[in-house]
């Protein structure tokens, strides 16, 4: 893994002032890195724009002001950040366990499909039951889809990098089959599912915007998985397996089981993201429901240094980039594909800065 920064919980009874100071320094360092990385990437993007006849500075200022201009825009960003945070948080857990789950995209689809099947099935159910049911269905389906790769890794030592990529394709093709076939809305010729029942819709929390309870769930889960990873026995086991599987065995930790736990958590989170997309945003299943959230989630986790709390912010940042890129195209007709260039550059500069920090730290030892 790139640079597993170590979470070092401090005992409550040691020097409180010193702890507070060092905590502040650590937080400042943790924030400075991604911010610097994003700035560098934006500057590179700006240069690329300028070289091709755009005014990079203006484009970005429009983008930033535009996406944050009013409640609705901000709500839209938060809405976009839901799947990114969920997937990012899940991948933090997987990556901490050294599992390269590249398959969040497919797991998202699995979750979306399950949420759709459940979401159109039970007429007359109260939302108090239906909404959680849809979430659970999505999460379980995502976890199960990821679990296939987990089982193949544990029992056949099949590289999860390859299997999760393959499972992505299979999930996408499967969804395409379902929306053109068994799940197609009988009332329409289009390859889309029937609309989910109203009781299964995710309640909106800031009408008239589309922001729904998913954002609260995502933040709560991010905090929960932070506690899981760094404060719980189970999370400790996952991390030890990720760093040194032999040491884990020696410690009596069941490596296979923890691989399954970590990959299923990441898959479950992606599946939940899929459920939120259909039940909270589109309300129908389409064959292309995700614009690549699963791949973006990898960058979200990385930018957060595999820290679930950090993923809240990096997920938010990527949502801004994404919203901004749409706005950039609307107002300035800058091709939206530029956003993947900027994302790529964000990753590379995070890596470069991260290594720099790592090196300077080891020098001071």
């Amino acid at each position: 893994m790139a640079n597993i920064e170590n979470e070092r919980p401090r005992a409550a009874d040691t020097d409180i002032m010193g702890n507070a100071m060092s905590m502040l320094v650590r937080i400042a360092q943790a924030i400075a890195l991604p911010v610097a990385a994003v700035l560098v990437a934006l500057i590179c993007g700006g240069i690329l724009l300028s070289l091709n006849g755009f005014n990079g500075w203006d484009v970005f200022s429009v983008m930033i002001v535009g996406v944050l201009q009013d409640t609705r825009s901000i709500a839209e960003i938060l809405l976009k950040s839901i799947p990114l945070i969920l997937i990012g948080v899940g991948l933090c857990v997987a990556f901490r366990c050294s599992i390269w789950n590249i398959g969040a995209e497919g797991q998202l689809y699995a979750g979306a499909v399950a949420a759709t099947i459940v979401g159109v099935a039970f007429e007359g159910l109260t939302p108090w039951i239906y909404v959680p049911l849809v979430m659970v269905a999505g999460a379980l389906a995502g976890a199960a889809w990821a679990g296939i790769a987990g089982l193949l890794k544990v029992y056949f030592r099949a590289s999860e990098i390859v299997t999760t990529i393959m499972l992505n394709y299979i999930a996408l093709i499967g969804t395409s089959y379902l929306v053109t076939g068994p799940l197609r809305d009988a009332a329409s010729a289009y390859p889309q599912s029937a609309r989910l029942l109203k009781e299964a819709w995710m309640p909106r929390i800031l009408p008239p915007t589309r922001l729904h309870i998913g954002i609260l769930v995502a933040v709560a889960l991010a905090i929960a998985f932070y506690v899981f990873l760094f404060r719980s026995s189970a999370g400790y086991a996952v991390r030890v397996v990720g760093i040194n599987a032999n040491a884990a065995r020696y410690a009596g930790i069941n490596v296979g089981r923890n691989i399954m736990i970590a990959i299923c958590i990441s898959g479950g989170m992606a599946g939940l993201a899929g459920a939120f997309e259909v039940a909270g945003v589109t309300r129908r299943l389409y064959q292309n429901i995700s614009p690549g959230y699963g791949f973006e989630g990898i960058a979200v986790a990385l930018l957060a240094n595999n820290n679930p709390i950090g993923a809240i912010f990096s997920g938010g940042l990527f949502a801004i980039l994404r919203s901004g890129s749409e706005l950039m195209q609307i107002t300035a007709q800058v091709p939206q594909v530029l956003v993947s260039v900027i994302q790529g550059m964000v990753i590379l500069s995070v890596v470069a800065f991260g290594v720099y920090r790592f090196r300077s730290a080891s020098r001071s030892q």
Partner: protein
């Protein structure tokens, strides 16, 4: 594609003010476009983009477009962005935009939402349909009268493509009920390599007419026809790319969606637009849907066939021939 600081700041100001004071402020007539893929591709998305450019040129409208690659969750927001910035017309290019438009439309009664390939008609949300099954029906007739066997290569199995193939098959079968036709969906609008191999396979098994309906990937089909030599023919569909294989192109079906859009939008602009239902463009709209022959083809369509096709065409326009079920 120059983008100056001035227009940018103006747009920025417009944005902020639109946010504050609502759509009424804007003076100029503005049209926005949502496309589900890249406007750089030949085919579906390009048609809408060309239409938008014509609206700009002919009606002097301010225009803007946004590509929302396979991203249903962003549709509603994009509609709202445009509508709240005072755009008068927003075109969602594809049936998948329909739900989002319906949701937004109630909040913006002054904006007209046009949805391509949709039968929706609900207040200010109006479906626009280019019924490609009609020109494909003509292609089917030509294929059955001049060819041995035909192959159809589609991108994804979605209604516009399925309908066009249905038209082709019905047309061919109207001439020869046993005319062999095979179909392949390559599962992508970008994999021109797979589309080409699909066509090569069809040609090898005797098809001498191969027709794509797969946006950019369709170019692979044209390439296959061209490499197979003069015996194998294709059609240029939606836009005219005859030059990619001049000797292998029997005819050109151009959907001048732009013309249709310009017509509707100009009515909206001067207030004369009155919709009684969703709008369907067909062969009857001769300014929108054009079918022509390529005389440079190595197997140029003979006159007797052309006469027959003309008859069929008139039949379709008159409503005597149904090109597809429903």
């Amino acid at each position: 594609m120059k983008f100056s600081r001035r227009t940018c700041l103006a747009a920025l100001a417009g944005l902020t003010m639109a946010g504050a004071t609502g759509p009424a402020l804007a003076d100029d007539f503005k049209m926005g476009l949502l496309v589900p893929g890249s406007v750089a591709e030949e085919g579906w998305n390009r048609i809408a983009y060309d239409a938008l450019l014509r609206v700009e040129k002919e009606l002097g409208a301010d225009i803007s477009y946004v590509e929302l690659h396979e991203n249903p969750s962003a549709f509603e927001n994009a509609f709202r962005n445009y509508a709240s910035q005072g755009y008068d017309v927003v075109l969602g290019h594809g049936f998948q935009f329909q739900d989002a438009a319906l949701t937004v439309a109630a909040d913006f009664p002054d904006t007209t939402f046009l949805i391509s390939s949709s039968h929706v008609f609900d207040g200010n949300v109006i479906g626009l349909n280019t019924d490609s099954s009609e020109p494909f029906y003509l292609m089917g007739v030509i294929a059955a009268m001049t060819g041995k066997s035909a192959g159809l290569v589609g991108g994804l199995e979605i209604p516009p493509i399925k309908q066009s193939f249905e038209g082709f098959i019905n047309g061919a079968r109207s001439v020869d009920p046993n005319f062999p036709i095979s179909q392949v969906y390559v599962g992508s609008f970008t994999d021109s390599t797979a589309a080409k191999e699909a066509a090569v396979g069809m040609i090898a098994r005797g098809a001498n007419i191969v027709v794509p309906n797969a946006n950019a990937a369709g170019l692979g089909v044209v390439q296959a026809a061209r490499e197979a030599g003069p015996d194998v023919q294709t059609f240029s569909v939606y836009s005219d790319y005859t030059e990619a294989a001049p000797e292998n192109t029997l005819g050109v079906y151009v959907a001048d969606y732009g013309q249709g859009i310009v017509r509707i939008v100009s009515q909206i602009k001067d207030g004369s637009f009155e919709a009684a239902g969703n709008i369907v463009f067909g062969l009857k709209d001769t300014d929108v849907m054009m079918f022509s022959y390529n005389d440079h083809s190595a197997r140029s369509v003979p006159d007797d066939v052309r006469r027959k096709v003309e008859e069929v065409k008139n039949g379709i326009i008159a409503g005597e021939i149904a090109t597809r079920a429903d």
